[in-house]
């Protein structure tokens, strides 16, 4: 469900960017989805395809790739990946899971920036952990045709 909202917001953002640059047609879109967001990329891609209509977006090539998440402890310098983070996220209290029609999702699915509330350094236990990458949505390519 959240993927469809995200798709709508991505399309709105791309249209705003394309219009601001005077584009006549968008040729290609490449999006990187941060692993921490735990987004269903197939659902996101489906939503984007559904919404990419109209003269600017119809027919544009679309790629939705995964950006692996990695973390570093600001205290001891230890680094870890999403597999370790998943172990910790499995302990999130069930009452904090967001209820979707067919599933229950971690708060990070909606608010990836809340990770400091749930992820600790596996080496020293500090809460001062940083998600180095993999917590955002990135538009890595936006190819457009513009007016001559």
């Amino acid at each position: 469900m959240h993927e469809l909202s995200l798709a709508q917001n991505i399309v709105d953002s791309v249209l705003a960017e394309a219009n601001a640059k005077g584009a006549t047609r968008v040729l290609e879109l490449r999006i990187e989805v941060g692993e921490l967001m735990q987004i269903d990329r197939r659902a996101l891609r489906f939503g984007l395809k559904l919404l990419m209509t109209g003269p600017l977006l119809e027919g544009a090539r679309l790629r939705v790739n995964l950006k692996r998440a990695s973390f570093r402890c600001r205290r001891c310098g230890a680094e870890w990946d999403m597999a370790e983070a998943r172990n910790q996220l499995a302990r999130v209290a069930p009452s904090l899971l967001v209820q979707e029609p067919d599933s229950r999702e971690l708060p990070l699915h909606f608010f990836p920036y809340l990770y400091p509330a749930f992820i600790r350094c596996p080496k020293c236990g500090s809460s001062d952990a940083s998600a180095i990458e993999g917590k955002d949505l990135e538009l890595t390519k936006l190819a457009m045709e513009t007016r001559p």
Binding site: M1, H2, S5, L6, N9, I10, D12, S13, A16, E17, I31, A93, S95, L96, L97, V98, Q99, E100, P101, R104, E105, P107, F110, F111, Y113, L114, P116, A117, F118, S127, D128, D136, L137, E138, L139, L142
Partner: protein, 278 residues
């Protein structure tokens, strides 16, 4: 191009179009009762048949869920995350997602968190959104001013203590610099009633001092209400005490300010006078 800011802004922009006015409740100082004031004002506005929401932006110390006796889980619907309801009030708080976990979030991430929390919530059509700001003049305040823009008005909260008035005055100056109109100042814990006698355990700030420091002569004296330590805010408001009555007057000024703003250009807000500190 990072989509994070753009996506938060796109979602927030859609929501904001359906909201009449945003009342930022802040002080810059901790422990003055901002959350109690924000909850009480929002509940009073909702009680007077105005469509009202309450957004708790205290990322590190969300207290609105406790004051209103509501908590997780949150349900996701077709149009976004469903706010929790208390009486007629729609409520969203970071605390619904973090429970009793500490949230050691750093500055730069807060603006995005605020934008997403507001933008992903299905507020529907609102006359007023009351925003409970955390005790600082940092990221949360600046992000809120950027997010809510010309729809926002600031309600300052202080205690009678000179130290509190001084910090709140600084916040008032910041708001003026940023072009945010100030509705007025709530002097919280201003007095306590013993029978028919009003006692002023923390002193009495003069109206002149508030005017000089904050630049508005509109102030409300809110009494210490011991029942708040035992009962939910909405239960205390239903008792017809001085505490409840003053929030009807503040709500009336919010409405008056909204009508005034729709008649005049930005920044030209002239608050009406109100009984309050001497």
């Amino acid at each position: 191009m990072s989509l994070k800011g753009a996506i938060g802004a796109a979602a927030a922009g859609h929501r904001l179009r359906r909201i009449g006015r945003v009342v930022l409740v802040g002080s810059g100082k901790g422990g003055v009762g901002k959350s109690t004031v924000a909850c009480s004002l929002a509940l009073t506005l909702a009680e007077t048949n105005l469509r009202t929401g309450l957004l708790d932006l205290d990322i590190h110390g969300a207290s609105v869920p406790g004051y209103l006796g509501i908590g997780p889980p949150v349900v996701s619907g077709r149009e976004g995350l469903m706010p929790k309801m208390r009486r007629r009030l729609k409520v969203m708080s970071v605390g619904f997602f973090t429970g009793d976990n500490p949230v050691p979030m750093r500055g730069g991430d807060k603006a995005e968190m605020i934008s997403q929390l507001f933008g992903l919530t299905d507020w529907g059509d609102l006359d007023y959104l009351v925003v409970d700001l955390p005790p600082s003049m940092g990221d949360e305040l600046l992000a809120s001013i950027g997010l809510f823009g010309e729809k926002s008005i600031l309600l300052l909260v202080t205690t009678p203590s000179p130290a509190s008035v001084e910090v709140v005055s600084r916040m008032g100056r910041l708001a003026r610099d940023e072009g945010v109109p100030i509705l007025g100042t709530v002097v919280n814990m201003a007095y306590v009633k013993s029978g028919r006698t009003e006692l002023f355990p923390f002193g009495r700030p003069s109206r002149g001092r508030l005017r000089r420091g904050i630049g508005t002569d509109l102030a409300w004296a809110v009494p210490l209400e011991p029942a708040l330590s035992l009962r939910r805010v909405d239960e205390v408001l239903g008792t017809g005490t001085d505490f409840a009555r003053v929030f009807y007057r503040i709500a009336a000024s919010v409405e008056e300010s909204g009508r005034h703003a729709s008649r005049t250009r930005k920044g030209d807000s002239r608050p009406v006078r109100e009984r309050g500190p001497s």
